[in-house]
Symmetry: C2
Subunit: 373 residues, 2 copies
């Protein structure tokens, strides 16, 4: 019954009895429990067809809060949000992921506690924590799995460490998946099949199919950085294979090709300053990414590809290169209604997605049953 | 409540009231309605803890039947099954898809009616029809979309034509998707993330993710026949692009490379007779398919790849070639627990999947609500 109300629309007891097939007395008792838990609230009166107008009830997203955490290689973003993922307090801070889980998660716990105070909420109101990490994560256990840029983090029990500090359920996923979730929920909630691609230091994707994030068997779905680019036979990747997308078209690979650029941010600055070589290099990276996305489009048939990550800030060059190859190389049926756009949530995609992941868990049928039992 | 019972396990009224949260009186009334509709039946008594032992109820798969139809280029397979997709009567017949929808669907309707009689069931007991076609289908409308080997079928209203004959809901999908569904439900129901690949005259895939078939936005997901094979730059496909998988590694492409082979069946016969050139060609086709599947594995992270279609009958050569490249080229995290096997349902994959598709529709919550209303 509560899942119905999550859309925010007010409903009467009679509405809810009709839709769920439950007895009026069962519905009334459940409403009382959900009200006591603060998850729903009175929402005025419905129009009456005669007699006293019936009371309506609606989801109360401010009932509790969650903490969204987006950890990158050299920074972190944290946000306390309500149960509709509306941001109540947020902070960005410099932080080295190479400092290892103890130091980093200690900073996360401290900053999270500060943000809770800033939002005027207590730890007891925290319904969950969502965390994104810059490397492969086994979503079921929340443990990083051989993450290449995170020394000391392999198999670290992130849910246990943060759970001890916050006394709330902790869910962990890789940064691209939470960005995909954040962008999908915030900007394109009605798009059932969407592919989110992050182009930054590395390259990765998050898959939304039939409205939900699909993580695959080990949680590594969307890991396209080491997919072979068709037609490229002369670039050796650090992984040992030939022609990997990341070795050819990542922000770092593009920076290495340009004089005066060391990081993806330098590449963006060069493009913005009107540097022709930089614009051409970014467009070519777009074409190479497009070659892999053409395969992804044939395989997944999304109706939308969203390009995020810092290289998406280099204007239309990267999207133009991607479009060029995807529309040339994919099947007409799959590209007929395909849109390819840049992300709308920008640097907030990660925390919004981490928040959404924690909210979904906190408001799952099982969690709500426990809460009102 | 009925959805719970679909697993076949007997339950008491008290079990069902506890799980659904519905009043005992609501549960009892619903059980009476489902019994009257024949969808559930008494299943003996539960162990008593004192007093009269309570009655249990279970799903009755023989309540109604569905018709599964698998149409190929030159043949058709039809089966009448019960609601657990157990085959009650089946037939294979020669049939040219190029005869067009009127002639072909007329044959289907006649044969379906004969099979119903053979199974001792009437048209009024038919809960639905599932149809697989050898070309792209818009699943939502059931209409073929520019199918290359099906002249006269573009936009044909298959559900309307067969619906007129059977007076039951008709669902249509492409042949690879129904094969994926049939193989998944029959042989690997516990595998949540599975990629089914058909290698026959053409090449296509069906995607099972989080336990369900994923069709994408236009229903073309899995269409990997015209994906570019990495490293191949010298083969022009009939579609006009270069290096398409189908132009290099389909059963037809392999037959074209071999003396004495005109069809994929000829290739299989040569391999079985011990022809070394044929075995080598099939193994190389496996490697080329493996190059595209390596990308698919990185993207989808399935725990199982199932190879079906007639070339899977050429023994281990094709799977060996696929394994060789997938294990070399995909990420370790994604291949750690990956199994690559040949299909178990063989030529019955299609009708079993078509039956499962029709059953899912017939037993959906909405359909059952209508039935017992």
């Amino acid at each position: 019954m509560f899942q119905l109300l999550r859309d925010g629309r007010p409903r009467t007891r009679a509405d809810l009895a009709a839709v769920t097939g439950q007895a009026r007395s069962t519905v009334a008792a459940r409403i009382d429990l959900l009200m006591a838990a603060g998850l729903i609230a009175p929402a005025g009166e419905a129009t009456s067809t005669g007699g006293r107008p019936p009371a309506t009830f609606a989801f109360a997203p401010s009932a509790r809060v969650v903490l969204g955490v987006d950890l990158g290689a050299t920074h972190a973003r944290l946000a306390v949000t309500d149960l509709a993922s509306t941001i109540l307090a947020q902070r960005e801070l410099p932080l080295l992921i190479t400092d290892g889980p103890d130091l980093v998660l200690d900073r996360v716990a401290e900053t999270g506690a500060e943000l809770l105070r800033e939002a005027g909420r207590s730890t007891s109101e925290l319904a969950g924590v969502g965390v994104g990490l810059p490397g492969p994560v086994e979503h079921a256990t929340g443990k990083p799995n051989n993450p290449p840029i995170m020394p000391g983090w392999d198999n670290a029990d992130v849910p246990a460490i943060l759970g001890d500090r916050f006394h709330a359920p902790v869910l962990v996923d890789n940064d691209v998946n939470i960005m995909a979730l954040g962008e999908h929920r915030t900007a394109w909630p009605g798009v059932a099949d969407l592919l989110f691609v992050k182009v930054a230091t590395g390259i990765g994707a998050g898959i939304i199919a039939d409205g939900a994030l699909r993580r695959g068997a080990q949680g590594s779905a969307g890991d396209i950085g080491h997919v072979a680019v068709p037609g490229v036979t002369d670039v050796v990747c650090r992984c040992g294979n030939i022609g990997c997308l990341e070795a050819i078209a990542s922000g770092l690979a593009v920076a290495n090709k340009l004089e005066g650029a060391k990081t993806p941010a330098d590449v963006v600055a060069l493009v913005r300053s009107g540097d022709v070589a930089a614009s051409q290099a970014v467009r070519q990276a777009g074409r190479d990414i497009g070659a892999v996305l053409a395969t992804s489009v044939s395989l997944l048939n999304p109706s939308m590809i969203v390009i995020g990550g810092i290289l998406a800030d280099a204007g239309e060059h990267i999207v133009a290169g991607i479009r060029e190859v995807v529309y040339q190389r994919s099947l007409p049926l799959a590209t007929q209604h395909l849109r390819i756009v840049t992300a709308r949530t920008g640097t907030q995609a990660g925390v919004l997605g981490a928040s959404a992941m924690a909210v979904d868990q906190a408001l799952s049928s099982e969690a709500v049953d426990r809460l009102v039992a």
